[in-house]
């Protein structure tokens, strides 16, 4: 469904990604794990069009999407929950969610139903509908960011460290949401530093170190791998 082939990314003179190749099949939940600065966000930004690769290609359902602007990529069916959430702080929770569907034709027609669905997933957002997004707690903001991405009715949902900075209970909730969404048929790519949790949930995973993919396997394989255990699970 989604294929990255030999992607190189540079920030100025510094190369951040080296020949990244990965694939995601329809219906999968794929985790990309790695430590700070490994290049996880850079991969996701490349997929969503926020940065353009120097070399390599991104294919979505057989068509190249690298080089498309991010708005075109969302419309093609790939939504991202970005690092830092990137909400509209002076709009209400409800408006933030609605914005997720407003600029995508097929999602706009179903906005009311999608909103209900998001409220089922995160009931607290229904209670907070009128509150300005900028005044929410970190966890609630994360829910709005996930909800906003879902409002676009994506085929692929990309999440960049959704559990970052959240209390354990919230982390649970976010992972639970990711799995629910995936079971409903949305393909999910999850970037996490919370390696244990994400490998437990993921069908497959990639381990990223210093801008290169060093390992690939099923969630189970990776969590039992010696290197992963030592480097990421502290065992």
């Amino acid at each position: 469904m989604l294929k990255l082939k030999a992607i190189d990314i540079n920030y100025g003179d510094i190369q951040a990604l080296w020949e990244i190749s990965l694939r995601v099949e329809e219906g999968e939940l794929v985790a990309i794990v790695g430590s700070n600065g490994a290049g996880k966000s850079t991969i996701l930004k490349t997929i969503s069009g926020l940065i353009r690769p120097r070399n390599g290609s991104v294919e979505f359902e057989g068509k190249r999407i690298d080089g498309l602007a991010p708005d075109r990529i969302v419309r093609a069916g790939i939504s991202m929950v970005p690092e830092g959430r990137e909400l509209f702080p002076r709009m209400s929770v409800r408006e933030n969610l609605e914005m997720g569907a407003t600029y995508i034709g097929r999602a706009r027609a179903q906005a009311a139903r999608s909103l209900e669905h998001v409220h089922e997933l995160f009931p607290v957002l229904a209670q907070r509908a009128g509150q300005l997004a900028g005044t929410l707690s970190g966890g609630e903001q994360q829910m709005v960011a996930i909800g906003r991405a879902l409002m676009a009715k994506p085929r692929i949902l990309i999440m960049d460290e959704p559990s970052l900075g959240l209390a354990p209970l919230m982390v649970e909730e976010v992972f639970r949401a990711a799995r629910t969404v995936n079971r409903e048929g949305v393909t999910v790519i999850l970037v996490e530093q919370n390696v244990r949790q994400s490998l437990k949930f993921a069908h497959r995973g990639y381990v990223l170190e210093n801008g290169r993919i060093v390992m690939e396997g099923t969630g189970k394989e990776l969590s039992e791998n010696r290197h992963v255990k030592e480097a990421y699970l502290g065992l």
């Binding site: 069009g49 708005d71 969302v74 939504s79 990137e86 709009m91 407003t102 906003r148 676009a152």
Partner: protein
């Protein structure tokens, strides 16, 4: 106390505030959405005023009806200006952007001087001399009409920004660029249209200006300075601040003009004085909010 002249001052101040607000709205829109201070905004107003003047003198089109021409005309001018001057410098440091719009402002002033000389032109319609008596005050018909149009314009802009898809996109872009891209907004295109809409607003303001002020190459510059004073008074980049700032400036000018000896001379310069006072006392503007 001389009540009639007191109320007259209030009426004059409020009425002129409407015009100031209409000039400031476009400036606020560009600042809010693109983060660019457009020093050439006043010159776009000036172009709107000249367009109205020529439409009136050459084709006999009523200055208020000519809004239907100046708005789309200036919209197109705006798209052109954006495409060839603003877009290339969007990612540049603020100082470069500032110098570019300042340069554009000076260029347009000089262009106007070359094309139309420095003469002061005025648009005199059949209703220019009319005035209405409302209790103790009397107000000119054109002032009242320009005020009403400014109020309507503001209302339309607010509805546009909150209810229309494109308007919401402009608000979204003003709040978060990356977030906007990620919900499927073409941020570049939104910039272009916001600039176009701001210029269309300048076109309308220009038509209004031509009915109550002289039209000459520097008229936009004069209005720009007032608009900057209003921005600083109201806090940068929000509409309610722009409206509040317009009222404060309009009323201050009007009261200084009436009550200070030699006041009409002072009134013109009062905007600078207000800028300095506000920056010293309350740098976030009277409304207390400022774009980060």
């Amino acid at each position: 106390m001389d009540w009639p002249s007191f109320f007259q001052s209030i009426a004059n101040g409020v009425l002129i505030a409407g015009l100031y607000a209409s000039v400031t709205l476009g400036l606020t829109l560009v600042l809010g959405v693109m983060g660019i201070v457009n020093f050439a905004h006043g010159e776009l107003v000036m172009l709107g005023a000249y367009s109205t003047f020529w439409l009136f003198t050459m084709l006999g089109i009523d200055p208020l009806l000519s809004i239907a021409i100046t708005a789309p005309l200036l919209f197109l001018v705006g798209i052109f200006v954006y495409r060839f001057t603003i877009r290339p410098i969007l990612k540049d440091p603020p100082l470069n952007q500032l110098l570019l719009t300042l340069g554009l402002s000076i260029f347009l002033q000089n262009l106007a001087m070359i094309l139309w000389k420095t003469d002061s032109r005025s648009v005199i319609t059949s209703y220019s001399g009319m005035s209405l008596h409302l209790g103790m005050v009397h107000v000119g018909a054109t002032r009242l009409i320009t005020f009403a149009i400014s109020v309507a314009l503001t209302a339309v802009l607010i509805v546009f920004l909150h209810k229309m898809r494109l308007g919401k996109a402009m608000r979204a872009v003003s709040e978060n660029n990356t977030g906007s891209w990620l919900v499927g907004i073409n941020v570049q295109k939104t910039y272009m249209l916001a600039f176009g809409v701001a210029c269309a607003l300048a076109g309308v303001s220009g038509s209004l200006v031509s009915t109550i002020m002289y039209t000459y190459p520097m008229v936009g510059f004069k209005l720009s300075l007032k608009a900057f004073c209003i921005l600083i008074l109201g806090g940068l980049g929000n509409i309610s601040g722009a409206l509040l700032g317009s009222l404060v400036l309009g009323l201050t000018e009007s009261f200084v003009g009436t009550y200070v000896p030699e006041g009409s001379g002072w009134a013109e310069g009062i905007s600078f004085f207000l800028i300095i006072v506000v920056l010293i006392i309350k740098p976030t503007g009277l409304a207390g909010t400022r774009r980060e």
